[in-house]
């Protein structure tokens, strides 16, 4: 085993171990806790960069650990893993900065940051899983570690929301567990690297079983991926503090579900088998319903975070739809949307958090004139919102373009229509916010800011960074190192040159 | 010959009676007596099955029964000690176990 094989567990450990230490720090040790948080986030990012370098030069790190007779945890780093792990590590650093400022003075910060670190470790584990069992392990751990963050405030409403969250995610977990166990019982350990070879051997003898397993797996993943009808937990979970909503429910948890669906369709079943079994039509159907339903529900929400939550429900199914269309262009669009939607959505949630934390504004109807009081926050919001609508050259446009092109290339013009309709609906619920913020006079006096900036610099910098990145990845999408190029490489690996 | 059947049969009857008493009678001391009856029944069954009508029958069941008797005595002692303590705390409780 070379040192490179230890990189995946090291990346996992870089947040796991400091997280465990943070649990035991007394509340008063603020500096130490902040230092640990930031140091581990930076360390993780550095390690990910090293991993990328190793893989770029042809290395294939792999690490295994035996849990019990016949079942091992396995971590590896293929192109899709690297994409997701880089996204997670990068956004974690940004969110850590944000969370430190947001929770200033709040109780139980050691508990919060302890679980926060565990969540990121679980997300990294999901990204780097080499087989379905390892994926299941980290997926379930993510459910458990996010719960204390959702209920952090300890109010009756938070706990009720947390209960709803658990009912949905644990039920999904049971379905995923049974599906994984069934497939493993039929075919042995299900390695992602095989690209569907496992299922290919079975497709003639057990087509019915394979369809049932697909349904179980996707149903389990659909909960976290917020696909209708199991999306209900996401708006409810918005009661969590803004950093939680931002990173976890806009990025880590929901992306884990979408990532899982990509893995199941392309690396467990493979495009050919999935198409032959006829399961992709169903997937596309549910994705379409979700895209439209989410956007429609977003229109009627006055609470800003809930509107953003329904927007997430809708936008996330772009990825599912792209996966179900099963063409190279659509897959490229789906994979790159993982990154782009993450960047844009986290920006929106950071801005929503700034508004509620600094001004106490939580509803769209209260946002009149807020653009003048918090110009930078709202500029970042505007960039992200326009990107979600699909305005060039921001990130969202790029992913939509590829999804649309992929739909046309496979003859699924209806999917293009869905994307266009969704774009219009996005405009319908985002543009009014911008209008209210910038063009309506303020209805009441805002609290004056204490410093030169509109709010704490640690609350301001993260959304500006992520908004800038959303713009950058769109503008420079043609560059070889962009997420788009990366997604293209992944699609080429799956479909062949 | 009849003794080959009689002893085990008596053992089974004692077991059944004891079990019935244990389950149906509310008085705690009656329950203790009932369980002693069950233990006796089981012992009788053990020895009775091992008895083949001759003088030199199998000694192993008899050894087991001896141990069983000791166990029953200790068990009875534990039960009585607890009942005694209970009756001090709740004098009527002995007659109506709940």
């Amino acid at each position: 085993m070379s040192w490179a094989d230890l990189l995946p567990p090291f990346i996992l450990g870089s947040s796991l171990l400091p997280g465990l230490v943070i649990f035991f720090l007394p509340e008063s040790r603020r500096t130490l806790r902040t230092a640990l948080n930031l140091a581990s986030a930076c360390l993780k990012l550095v390690a990910v960069a090293v991993l990328m370098a190793v893989v770029a030069t042809g290395g294939q790190p792999r690490w295994e650990w035996s849990l019990a007779p016949g079942f091992d945890l396995a971590l590896q780093a293929d192109a899709l893993s690297l994409l997701f792990v880089t996204l997670s590590a990068g956004l974690w650093l940004v969110t850590t900065v944000y969370a430190i400022a947001y929770l200033e003075g709040a109780p139980q910060r050691s508990r919060f940051f302890g679980f926060f670190s565990l969540c990121v470790s679980a997300t990294v584990g999901i990204a780097l899983s080499a087989d379905l069992l390892t994926f299941l392990v980290f997926y379930e751990i993510l459910t458990i570690t996010t719960y204390p963050l959702v209920v952090h405030r300890g109010t009756r409403r938070s706990l009720a929301a947390g209960g709803t969250y658990l009912v949905y995610t644990l039920s999904g977990g049971v379905l995923l567990f049974v599906g994984t166990a069934w497939l493993t019982a039929l075919a042995g350990p299900v390695d992602f690297a095989s690209g569907g070879a496992t299922v290919d051997t079975l497709i003639h003898e057990h087509p019915g079983a394979l369809r049932a397993i697909f349904a179980l797996l996707v149903a389990g993943l659909a909960v976290k991926a917020a696909i209708v009808p199991v999306h209900g937990w996401l708006p409810v979970a918005m009661i969590a503090p803004a950093p939680v909503s931002a990173l976890l429910h806009a990025v880590a948890v929901v992306k884990a579900g979408a990532f899982g669906i990509l893995r199941v369709v392309y690396d467990v079943y493979g495009v050919q088998a999935a198409t032959d079994l006829g399961v992709l039509t169903w997937l596309a159907g549910f994705a379409t319903i979700t895209i439209l339903f989410g956007s429609l529900r977003a229109l009627v929400q006055d609470d800003l975070k809930r509107r953003l939550a329904y927007s997430t429900v809708s936008q996330l199914s772009y990825i599912t739809l792209g996966a179900a269309l099963a063409t190279p262009l659509a897959l490229t669009g789906a994979v790159v949307h993982l990154v782009h939607q993450g960047l844009m959505k986290i920006t929106l949630f950071f801005c929503a958090g700034n508004l509620s934390e600094t001004l106490g504004v939580r509803r769209v109807s209260e946002m009149a004139g807020v653009g003048r009081r918090m110009p930078w926050t709202m500029r970042a919001f505007a960039v992200a919102a326009l990107g979600m609508i699909g305005t060039p050259p921001i990130a969202g446009f790029v992913s939509k373009w590829y999804l649309g092109a992929g739909a046309l290339s496979s003859g699924d013009g209806w999917a293009l229509a869905v994307l266009v309709a969704s774009g219009l609906l996005n405009a319908a619920y985002f543009l009014p916010i911008l209008k209210t913020a910038w063009f309506e006079p303020a209805r009441k006096a805002w609290p004056v800011s204490s410093g030169r900036l509109e709010t704490s610099w640690m609350l301001l910098l993260p959304p500006l960074v992520t908004a800038a990145l959303s713009l950058l990845v769109g503008v420079c999408a043609g560059v070889d190192a962009s997420p788009l190029a990366w997604a293209g490489r992944i699609a080429r690996e799956v479909f062949g040159p | 010959m009849t003794s080959l059947v009689l002893y085990p049969l008596a053992g089974v009857v004692a077991l059944a009676l004891g079990l019935a008493g244990l389950v149906t009678r509310p008085h705690l001391l009656t329950k203790v007596l009932a369980f002693n009856l069950m233990a006796t029944g089981a012992s009788l069954l053990l020895v009775g099955l091992g008895h083949d009508g001759t003088a030199s029958s199998d000694p192993v069941p008899q050894a087991m029964v001896l141990t069983g008797i000791v166990v029953s005595v200790s068990a009875t002692a534990v039960a009585l000690a607890i009942i005694a303590r209970l009756s001090r705390l709740d004098p009527d409780g002995v007659e109506r176990s709940d």
Partner: protein, 492 residues
């Protein structure tokens, strides 16, 4: 006979029994009793260590006590199944002993005397002899290799358990102890009757010999039914569970921990041993289906009751009923699959429950001592006051749930994959879906813990070693979940 090595297993029973006598004679004197406890723990640790090393090195083995062979003498046997239970029993005992010592001797401030007055409860003089007797009895249960030895060990552990429940001293505890006593005794006598029938049929009681001689006929089946009925009653399988919740709730917390973790687990192990191993040729498969179904009902019943009871220890006790039900729903899978993986799945579940349940009861004991009671509706917000106990309870609950990383997950995974290989679908579904019911009552407690609320009057700080022992056991469920691979691989 390899002298010291074979002798060392004997210490697992001899040391606690000798310790029991010693503490009795010492009348609970401080210092001397601690010394006896330490020596006993040390002897047990060394013996367990030797046992594990030997079985990993050379496989199953038997030990003759006093060098008298069967059938005149007593033989003990160690195989992978019993080794797993004995190895896990050691940390559970040590943690529970630390907590018991802490609770017995925790300082009571005079300021609280007005509130708490003289609390009835165990005293060192009566507690330690009974505690060590239970320790020895439980070890003997896992080591015995013949049916009569098993009967004696069952009675020894049962009586010690009953007496320990009664040491709580209050009326509900005495009543619960008597219920436990009568249930125990009924079970033991059923077992003894089964032993009588087996001896009459096969003329031997040695498990090894019985395994090779067993045949499927009427008298064997009746004997198995009697043996099984007795054991199922002692394991508190629905509907013969009624004695357990009250006994485990009323007992002092460390006693509840050992009762739920080990004393209830031993009959499950024995059913596995007798029905699926020694006498498997004589077992009608429909019996396992019936027992599995009872287990499934037990899961639902226990979990439902756990959601409604008012006291924390009652909740944990009903959780034991539910988890025992879960173990029995796994029996049909083990029988149908017949594979090593399925058996280890069941063992992992059982062992995982033992450690997790013990840690939950110890945490509950700590919480009850801190609050002066264990009524859930008056403990709101205890997460902030007693974080270690809360994490212990939570982590233990995660293992019961089967969250990956814990040994509970390893057990469920092995059972699910083996079960689906032989299409034992209803049982696999029961094992997998039980997590949701378990989550419901674990969440109930955690929600109460996290709820921010002012500190109730009359709470007092908890001795640190109590919280840490509970937490250490909870961490063990994760350590076992992640690290048992290297230990289990080499075993057959």
């Amino acid at each position: 006979m390899d002298g010291p090595v074979t002798a060392s297993v004997g210490w697992l029973v001899a040391a606690p029994l000798a310790g029991s006598v010693a503490t009795f004679l010492l009348r609970g004197r401080r210092g001397a009793s601690e010394a006896v406890l330490l020596l006993t723990a040390l002897a047990a640790a060394l013996a367990t260590n030797g046992l594990v090393a030997r079985i990993m090195g050379s496989g199953p083995y038997t030990v003759e006590i006093g060098s008298w062979g069967a059938p005149a003498g007593i033989e003990w046997a160690v195989d992978d199944l019993s080794a797993a239970f004995l190895a896990v029993a050691l940390p559970v005992w040590i943690a529970a002993t630390i907590v018991a010592h802490g609770l017995l001797h925790s300082p009571r401030s005079p300021r609280d005397a007005r509130v708490f007055r003289k609390e009835p409860g165990p005293t060192a003089r009566t507690f330690w002899p009974l505690w060590l007797l239970l320790w020895g009895g439980v070890n003997a249960l896992f080591l015995s290799a013949d049916l009569f030895n098993l009967y004696v060990a069952l009675e020894l552990a049962g009586l010690a358990g009953v007496a320990l429940v009664a040491t709580a001293g209050v009326l509900p505890a005495l009543q619960a102890a008597l219920r436990y006593f009568f249930a125990n005794v009924a079970g033991s006598i059923s077992f003894l009757t089964g032993v009588a029938l087996v001896y009459h049929r096969y003329q031997t009681l040695d498990l090894q010999l019985l395994r090779s001689a067993a045949e499927s006929d009427a008298s064997t089946t009746v004997a198995l039914a009697l043996l099984g009925a007795g054991l199922l009653l002692k394991a508190a399988l629905f509907p013969m569970h009624a004695w357990l919740p009250r006994a485990h709730a009323a007992a002092p917390a460390p006693v509840s921990a050992i009762l739920s973790a080990l004393v209830v687990k031993a009959p499950v192990y024995l059913v596995l041993r007798l029905w699926l191993d020694v006498f498997h040729v004589a077992l009608p498969p429909s019996v396992l289906t019936f027992v599995g179904a009872l287990g499934a009902i037990g899961i639902v019943w226990g979990s439902a009751r756990a959601l409604r009871v008012e006291r924390l220890k009652s909740l944990i006790a009903y959780s034991t009923v539910a988890q025992v039900g879960l173990l029995f729903t796994a029996f049909p899978i083990v029988h149908a699959a017949g594979s090593r993986d399925a058996r280890w799945g069941l063992v992992f579940l059982a062992v995982g429950h033992a450690v997790a349940k013990a840690s939950m009861f110890l945490a509950a004991g700590g919480l009850a001592r801190a609050h002066g009671h264990d009524r859930l509706d008056q403990m709101t917000g205890f997460g902030a006051r007693e974080p270690l106990c809360t994490y212990a309870f939570g982590l233990g609950g995660m293992s019961l749930l089967g969250v990956p990383g814990t040994i509970g997950f390893s057990g469920k995974w092995l059972l699910a994959t083996s079960g689906l290989e032989v299409w034992a679908v209803p049982w696999v579904v029961a094992v997998s879906a039980s997590a949701l019911l378990t989550a419901a009552y674990v969440w109930r407690v955690l929600a109460i813990a996290i709820r921010s609320a002012p500190e109730p009057a009359g709470t007092r700080p908890l001795a640190r070693r109590i919280a840490w022992s509970a937490f250490a056991l909870a961490v063990l469920t994760v350590a076992l979940g992640l690290g048992s691979g290297p230990f289990v691989e080499p075993l057959p």
